[in-house]
Symmetry: C3
Subunit: 339 residues, 3 copies
């Protein structure tokens, strides 16, 4: 089970409660009042545990698991151990996420403003907000109901944060409007000046950056990631985006809904991503490009040109992923011929 120093477990929950919560169908469930104590991956599970089987790679673990219950796709019902209660669903990982959240709910604001926090008189603080020691809230900020502002976070003047959002320890936010239910991780830097100046041998002259960062609802920004504010237009992060750690997002960049930006990706200024774009780890996207809906960018790619909707690219400079694989093969053949 999860270390009780860090995690408070709820439950147990009954088979019926879990089915209701997740919408899964019950199979091999003679006693719907039976309760599971905890959730866990298949490998470590015993009869008191609820687990999930999603990635076919773990079929052996599923077949031999001692887990008491398991979320599974209907087509694998026949492979389950005899005593396992089955919760069938087309998306076992999503169902598991819901169940796990019932056992281990996310932190909720405790409504306490620490006497060691510094909150400007003109800040408007919603109901039930938690502000931890060392946090600094600037003038005219609006902090929505139920927000958590963790220790030593700094919220600059005028920033607006929607209800139920959480700002991690040591994060700094300025010139920014944040929606509801967002998670900003520790050390994220949002809203500072973009990298804008008139270059020249007489010196690089700084250009005022007059835009904002506008973040939708249900967005995550990872630890130590940086999002610069717009130069004139805004930098925009759409609803439901997931941004991992150490990501750089330049000024005027726009992300549509549901984009997934993996760790150490860099997106240069004024590039626009459509909805549900995925950029894998350490990819770089140059400035002033358009990336279509649903495009996928392989890890370490260097994107120098627009990408159409639904395309997948790889390599540096990035090309359609099939070409990239052929290039890799051609290169490896080339050196074999020389032997």
């Amino acid at each position: 089970m999860a270390d009780p120093r860090f995690f408070k477990r709820k439950g147990p929950f009954s088979v019926q409660e879990i089915a209701d919560l997740t919408g899964a169908e019950l199979v091999n469930a003679p006693d719907p009042s039976r309760r599971f104590d905890d959730v866990s991956p298949l490998q470590n599970a015993d009869a008191s545990i609820l687990s999930f089987f999603d990635n076919r790679k773990y079929l052996d673990a599923f077949v031999s698991s001692s887990a008491g219950g398991c979320f599974v796709r209907p087509e694998f019902v026949d492979r389950a151990p005899a005593d396992m209660v089955l919760f069938t669903t087309s998306d076992p990982y999503r169902a598991y996420a819901k169940a796990a959240t019932a056992y281990y709910p996310f932190d909720e604001a405790n409504g306490v403003v620490s006497p060691h926090a510094v909150v400007a008189d003109t800040a408007r603080i919603g109901k039930g907000v938690q502000i931890d020691a060392g946090a600094v809230i600037g003038g005219n900020c609006e902090i929505g109901d139920g927000c958590i502002i963790a220790s030593n976070a700094v919220i600059g003047e005028g920033v607006v944060i929607g209800a139920g959002s959480k700002i991690g320890a040591g994060a700094t936010i300025s010139h920014c409007l944040i929606g509801n239910l967002c998670l900003i991780y520790p050390g994220a830097r949002i809203g500072q000046d973009g990298f804008g100046f008139a270059m020249g041998p007489q010196g690089h002259l700084k250009v005022p950056q007059l835009g904002r960062v506008v973040i939708g609802n249900d967005v995550e920004v990872g630890a130590n990631s940086t999002i610069d504010r717009g130069a004139g237009p805004d930098t925009v992060i759409g609803n439901g985006c997931r941004i991992d750690n150490l990501v750089q997002i330049g000024h005027n960049v726009e992300l549509g809904m549901g984009c997934v930006i993996v760790s150490q990706v860099g997106i240069s200024g004024s590039t626009k991503l459509g909805n549900f774009v995925v950029a894998a780890g350490q990819a770089g996207i140059t400035g002033h490009l358009e990336i279509g809906d649903g495009a996928k960018i392989a890890a370490q790619s260097g994107v120098m040109k627009n990408i159409g909707a639904g395309e997948t690219v790889g390599g540096s400079p990035a090309v359609p992923v099939m070409e990239y694989h052929k290039q890799t093969v051609a290169l490896s053949r080339l050196i074999r011929k020389k032997k």
Copy 2:
């Protein structure tokens, strides 16, 4: 116009004032006392707005713009809309930067030391310095006149910061001398130990890092960037350098004047860059190299050898950029032949 929650606008300024301020020549300016209210990019500008046209890509926007005034190169005067007041100059973006700074001046220190800051008795604090809540200033520091030390920044013992510099929220500085008019962005880490140890199977033994970081005047260090102090010699950042977000600069590295280091670049220990070197995003430069004045390094390059003055390189390992482009073309032809 810029969001008034975040930006305080000055002005309006007259045509004559703007010409005087920027050194631009007036063309099609029948009334030098006419005033402009604000600055903005061409696309959103109306008759009350001052704009600029610099990048030829935006010629259509210029030709059809409703902006009241515009900085422009002399050769485009003929293409301007009939009513537009023109400010001609060889560097419209630089002139715009000056005008925009008149409308939206950079923050100046307010002279207030927050009662929630912690300032050592032995620190010497200049005139008019602003120190925000949660900032910590160590013993024997020298903070120059007019500096801003933002919330929760930490300035270690003995650090010297020149007049008019700004240290962003949550940044940490130690073992460092910083010049005048520098901007250190939120979360930057400057002056910690370099990555130095005697490696071996019996363990990696830490070697004391006895140098400093010495930063010139008018330098910017981006959000969450890291600059390690020297191992014995100093790590040196020349006057006028611009370092973007999430950049790593190893111990003993030296940057000349006016270098531009784009986001997520890494420069390994003891490498020396000349003046006005440009390293584009995610490039990596290995240790103990010499990079000549004015060299340009393409995005994602992996520099493994010295680069001569004025050269441009690309690829990983990096080669002269013309070779890199030929390699890219050759590789794409190679797979086409195989079809």
Copy 3:
């Protein structure tokens, strides 16, 4: 000598004391009571200085050096200047590290808990611990004897830190157990949620991350690096690992003993590294891989497959390093043929 604003020097130490401390053999040392005032690289050293010669590249500097004493391999004794006291050893850099640490000892905790720190009543604080201004220590934490918690660091509820460890300014730690004698650098982010969610067009649903980060003894984690906690299993960092700045380590990753992870490397979720693996700057390692003991990964490599013990790989996608070099040569020949 090192800048006295930042470094307090001990000593002088005698030739005999230095030999005893480092285990080096004395050669050309007529007066074992002679004392050296300081340590320094060969280039700047005079007769009062103790230095070292390790990298053959600096042979000229050694031959012409005025250093009073020098750590050196036995085979170079004949090349030494006539008056130089020689300390022979098979590992001069390690011996120098020990001597330099005698002159410039690492910071020790001063036993003072700042009145400006915020320490939870239920935290257990060891003997002689130093907690600086603005640091926040959560409930039920255990901070071992002699630890230093620097300014504005945030230690979350329940975190355990072993004796003699140091947490840098502005770092944030949660859901984590840290061993003895570790150095966590400024701005490091340890223990936040991994990047785990059930992806889908109806939104990306967050999955509770129920593991911890477990860090051994004598580990360094660089400035602004990020280590996510496990999703169910733990993220594990073995004894003696050295992690540089701006490194990303995903959830469930395991590092064996003595691994060296250079700046800006990214290691994706659930990948396991053996002992003494070296990953050079900006390398990326995809998820769910096994990297054998002693494997070496070149800078900017993109590792997509398991690596056997002792192998060296390079390129993206990474291949055995000899193949990578041949590919580079083949590619450069390919374009020469076309001329």
